[in-house]
Symmetry: C2
Subunit: 333 residues, 2 copies
């Protein structure tokens, strides 16, 4: 087939829509694209930031199944990208601004223009909320972390500082005691904003966890890519306080990238993650979701990849049913 023809096929116009537009290009998105492209489902991904998403900026991924000794996040996402492109997936750099239904198609408004597709996969991921202090960016993923399941095991018998006072800060601090020798938890307010049961529970970890209320986190200090201490302020006395440490975990929230779905009719949960059925379809037929942006996501690369693959199969089923019926219809669970 001449490549000219493929190009024409890929216009994404009303008359010649893409089969699938994937919003995002992280592990869930790339895995879905590996599957769909391999099966000749014309797939275009839109990424506004870095290809590979959070995985690409993860220093070392120890628990993605299949790499016995672990792999760097960048290497892993590069491999996924090459794999998707090998099968014909096309990755566009640009931001998706909205998604809406247009007759039997989906209309996707992007910074690069409007395009049309038969189905959409939302795989935009989530972003860990930052505290915005000096050192946070410098030591990102090299001493400053946001996911205990991912990086906790790197701190066996080491000291940690945890920043945050909500449910996840309390829960993840207790979890981190599996590895760490001691944790200083820095809470800006006078008490935890966590559930009673968790606040009660963390009491039992006194031997490993020291909680500092009314304490701001002002700076993360280190040298040669190694974190050495966290500098804060005791808001009561107004004095500077220092916490020597080997690493910092920040748990101050997680924001799903779902702003562009406002007005799409896609149902979100109370934290603005995308709700889905067992087949990973949203409440809008033809719009699917996978990975960290999905309500109930585990925020693990393995889970996101798996969901991407699963979503691809469900999307194929949906597209086949569309062809059969000559009109879109929901895939039944």
């Amino acid at each position: 087939m001449p490549s000219q023809e493929i190009k024409k096929d890929n216009q994404g116009t009303v008359d010649n829509p893409h089969d699938l537009v994937v919003v995002g290009a992280g592990p869930a998105a790339l895995s879905a694209a590996i599957y769909t492209s391999r099966e000749d489902i014309k797939t275009v991904l839109f990424e506004k930031g870095a290809i590979g998403g959070l995985a690409a900026v993860t220093d070392w991924v120890d628990n993605y199944p299949g790499f016995a000794k672990g792999i760097s996040g960048l290497e892993l996402s590069d491999a996924m990208q090459s794999q998707a492109e090998r099968f014909g997936a096309k990755i566009e750099l640009g931001e998706v601004q909205s998604v809406s239904s247009a007759d039997k198609l989906k209309k996707i408004m992007t910074t690069e223009g409007d395009i049309y597709a038969r189905a959409v996969l939302v795989a935009t991921g989530s972003e860990y909320r930052k505290i915005g202090v000096p050192g946070e960016e410098e030591f990102y993923a090299r001493g400053v972390h946001y996911c205990a399941t991912c990086d906790g095991a790197f701190y066996r018998d080491k000291r940690l500082v945890v920043v945050g006072g909500g449910n996840s800060a309390v829960q993840e601090s207790m979890f981190l005691t599996r590895f760490t020798s001691h944790i200083n938890v820095l809470v800006r307010g006078p008490k935890f904003r966590a559930s009673e049961i968790l606040v009660h529970e963390i009491e039992k970890f006194k031997n490993k966890i020291t909680v500092h209320f009314n304490t701001t986190t002002d700076e993360i200090v280190g040298q040669d890519s190694k974190v050495q201490k966290v500098v804060g302020t005791d808001k009561i006395s107004g004095e500077k306080v220092e916490f020597p440490t080997d690493g910092v975990f920040v748990f101050v929230g997680l924001d799903p990238n779902t702003g562009f779905l406002a007005g799409s009719g896609v149902e979100l949960d109370e934290n603005k993650f995308v709700k889905s059925d067992q087949k990973l379809m949203t409440n809008i037929p033809g719009i699917f979701v996978a990975g960290d942006v999905r309500s109930g996501a585990t925020l693990q690369i393995a889970s996101a990849s798996g969901e991407g693959a699963t979503a691809a199969l469900m999307i194929r089923e949906y597209l086949e049913s569309m062809e059969r019926d000559h009109e879109p219809r929901p895939v039944h669970v």
Copy 2:
């Protein structure tokens, strides 16, 4: 810690139970074990057959995300095994015969004796039903296949034979027309045992699919690891018939490995796959499920691995809630 102490820890007795017993050692099982072991959840896997499950006997895995050029199934499952063992997972060879609740624990009867655990993950996979003819085993995964999504793309512009007359035979034949130049479908009976809508649908693929009813499949013939033809019998005329082909896809059923769950109280679906909630827990608190044995599974290595990772996080949450309450309780969705 002296290794003597770890050994004692690993006895799996009533007084000293394992945290988790995983039944099976395929991708879902190994992925779960990578996660749980890394978090010091004492994990023992039981495998009655080959470590790696169906993945280990898959010639080439083209679509497992992270291997740009694909990887052999054996290499992939070996890597997963090393990775799980690196974190301390223990793999026992032996067959699990039954699982039951015993006070707050699960009792697992195996050919190697009875053991106890706080939680169980069922990851025993499924087995494609074979037709049991000469050549089927010889060319397994090298010309004889059971999964169109996995291996269909290897047959671009090649000829295929499909064996089977049920829903999956019809559906997958239509799917395979994306790749193949022509398919001969061999149906033993006088008509399809598939849903009306599918039988009607396959009509439209006449230019690529030829259906042969009343035709048995007697032998798969090839040379030098390459399939050349399928030999069958026309049951009406009694004559031998031959179908030159590059590959054979067999779709005659799928059996989940759930026999050992009889009497466990674990709820199965109508095809004997294990039912689960959104947190991958079965109806029995503390018994989880992941991978190809789960009701709704996609039978993809990526999906199975992803589910294994997700299950591991849910199991951790369950074990933590058990410790908190000092009694098992369901994890709420």
